[in-house]
């Protein structure tokens, strides 16, 4: 009887674990089924390389959105990476343990703030400052980059802290024994050892930046054109889907699913690149 219940529980748990994977596969299949026929119907070239987006007039080019997504993500990394890395080094290496116990949970709390709140702050505070001091419409790539940079900060920061903390103390002691200063120890011994963890953190942050929707819609202005500078408005792929999904029917709706397919492929490529980078690092 006992053995039977053990078996049953094991079966149930296995089933639950696989259902998560099944869900992912179903989602991917559904998006592909809705989006792929459309891409082949109008031609991948017309879809991916044209920047004419006017669905009600039969023009479905998303090149401007792909560029928009890349700009915003790169901008977020430009803001979030130096802050996150510097913060992690300071918190992990220079701060006493008791201070760390207060500060780290506080930073992780940042990740719990709903994205609409970030967007609201971007619209009310950040955009007017950018417009008044630098020009342009204010709702711009720059505003989105700063907001996203802050949003991915907790991810980069907490994973980096954990991987720096995971470096064995003997590395530091060895380095000190060779006469290295504290800074030399950090950038020559600790950081290289913690590299794969830090990169994993950065990739997770990147994934969040490229997939973020609500905050981005609110601050990026959503103009469907190829941006000329960081003060210009742009429309990332996620914003394109979320903006028009509520109203879209027929071809327009399929075009949005096809946009989702492109987004999915970009994110999968990103994950693949991250995994290979980490694997190479471990081999060395």
């Amino acid at each position: 009887m006992k053995i039977f219940s053990e078996m049953a529980i094991r079966r149930v748990l296995t089933g639950i674990a696989f259902s998560a994977i099944a869900m992912l596969i179903l989602i991917i299949l559904f998006i592909l089924k809705e989006g792929l026929p459309f891409i082949f119907q109008i031609g991948p070239g017309n879809f991916l390389l044209s920047s004419d987006w006017s669905p009600l007039n039969g023009k479905f080019g998303i090149f401007a959105m792909i560029v928009g997504s890349l700009w915003v993500t790169a901008g977020a990394l430009f803001i979030g990476l130096p802050l996150g890395l510097a913060g992690a080094i300071f918190l992990a290496e220079f701060l006493p343990r008791w201070a760390m116990r207060i500060i780290k949970p506080t930073i992780e709390l940042l990740a719990g703030i709903p994205s609409v709140v970030y967007g609201f702050i971007g619209v009310m505070v950040l955009a007017p400052i950018i417009r008044d001091s630098l020009g342009g419409p204010g709702l711009s790539i720059m505003a989105a980059s700063i907001i996203l940079g802050v949003m991915i900060l907790p991810t980069i920061l907490s994973i980096s802290i954990d991987s720096i903390k995971a470096v064995p103390n003997s590395y530091r002691e060895g380095s000190f024994a060779l006469g290295a200063t504290h800074w030399q120890t950090i950038h020559m011994a600790v950081l290289p050892a913690a590299k794969s963890g830090i990169i994993a953190g950065i990739i997770l942050g990147l994934g969040r930046a490229i997939g973020e929707t609500m905050a981005v819609i609110m601050v990026v202005g959503n103009a469907a054109k190829i941006p000329a500078s960081v003060l210009d408005s742009a429309r990332p792929l996620t914003a394109n889907i979320a903006l028009e999904m509520g109203y879209a029917t027929g071809m327009h709706r399929q075009a949005l699913f096809a946009t989702g397919v492109v987004l999915l492929i970009i994110i999968m490529m990103l994950n693949f690149a991250a995994n290979t980078a980490i694997k190479n690092m471990v081999k060395k």
């Binding site: 009600l56 007017p128 417009r131 202005g221 959503n222 103009a223 029917t249």
Partner: protein
């Protein structure tokens, strides 16, 4: 042991609560009204009034946009679909239509902008991207920030259908609701946008069109050009609760409620 009993009691109570609340919806007749987000708040207010006067009937109001209103009326997902479009799409031709209210679309600018009046031609050229600077229409020497709605929005398609021949400039900032358009214009001194008449407040200033302000009088006289109808759509001739709700909206009390909340009555 005690906690186990407690948990069982709580579970039992939860089941009872669920059963009771499920029962609530079943009493009397129920209809669902879905569609236009611009008319949604007015429909909610009217439904509350109707339900207060006729206990036992339940009217559920859902948003989703004009396209959703048309789709759900066609599919039967909602008993009544709401759409506020100047030209109803081809799919909607099989539906029965009633105009329950009208809504003016107001061109808005920042209060700091000296421009108070534009002609339809000027608006068309601004949205086409031919007019790029406020000084071309009598304002200060500042670049125009054009704010529009997303493709498929009822407000946008009505606006473009009335102004005619608009190919929206690619520079245009796109916002996804009346409220965010208003917020953007309130924050940006050089922007221009358009929103529903019922949503004008003192953070933005409403422009006159061809010298005519968007007032109920001038809309009723047919002088103000940017007006769209609010349609209630049903698959067949409305019956039962659907019919009496539509009759209520078209009654004197219903139309008065529409007027006091900032829309234009049809009667």
């Amino acid at each position: 042991m005690k906690t186990k009993v407690m948990i069982r009691c709580l579970f039992f109570l939860l089941c009872v609560a669920l059963a009771v609340t499920f029962g609530c919806g079943r009493g009397g007749s129920t209809i669902t009204v879905a569609g236009s987000t611009a008319f949604q708040p007015f429909a909610e207010k009217l439904a509350d009034l109707y339900m207060a006067a006729n206990p036992g009937s339940t009217i559920t109001i859902q948003g989703g946009g004009s396209a959703v209103g048309i789709q759900s009326a066609l599919s039967g997902a909602a008993n009544i679909g709401m759409a506020d479009l100047v030209i109803l799409p081809k799919d909607a031709q099989s539906l029965k239509t009633v105009i329950v209210a009208r809504d003016g679309i107001v061109m808005i600018v920042n209060p700091k902008n000296p421009v108070k009046n534009l002609t339809l031609d000027q608006i068309r050229n601004i949205y086409n991207g031919k007019i790029k600077n406020w000084k071309e229409v009598g304002g200060s020497d500042q670049a125009v920030t054009v704010v529009s709605r997303e493709e498929g929005s009822g407000t946008r398609s009505s606006f473009e259908a009335i102004i005619k021949n608009i190919t929206l400039t690619k520079e245009a900032i796109i916002q996804d609701s009346n409220g965010t358009v208003r917020e953007t214009v309130a924050n940006d001194h050089n922007s221009i946008g358009y929103i529903s008449h019922g949503l004008v407040n003192n953070k933005i200033s409403a422009l006159m069109l061809n010298g005519i302000a968007c007032t109920n009088d001038d809309i009723n006289k047919g002088l103000y050009p940017l007006v769209r109808p609010v349609y209630f759509l049903t698959r067949e001739e409305p019956q039962g609760l659907s019919k009496s709700f539509i009759d209520f909206i078209l009654s004197e009390q219903g139309q008065k409620t529409i007027l006091t909340n900032g829309l234009i009555p049809v009667k």
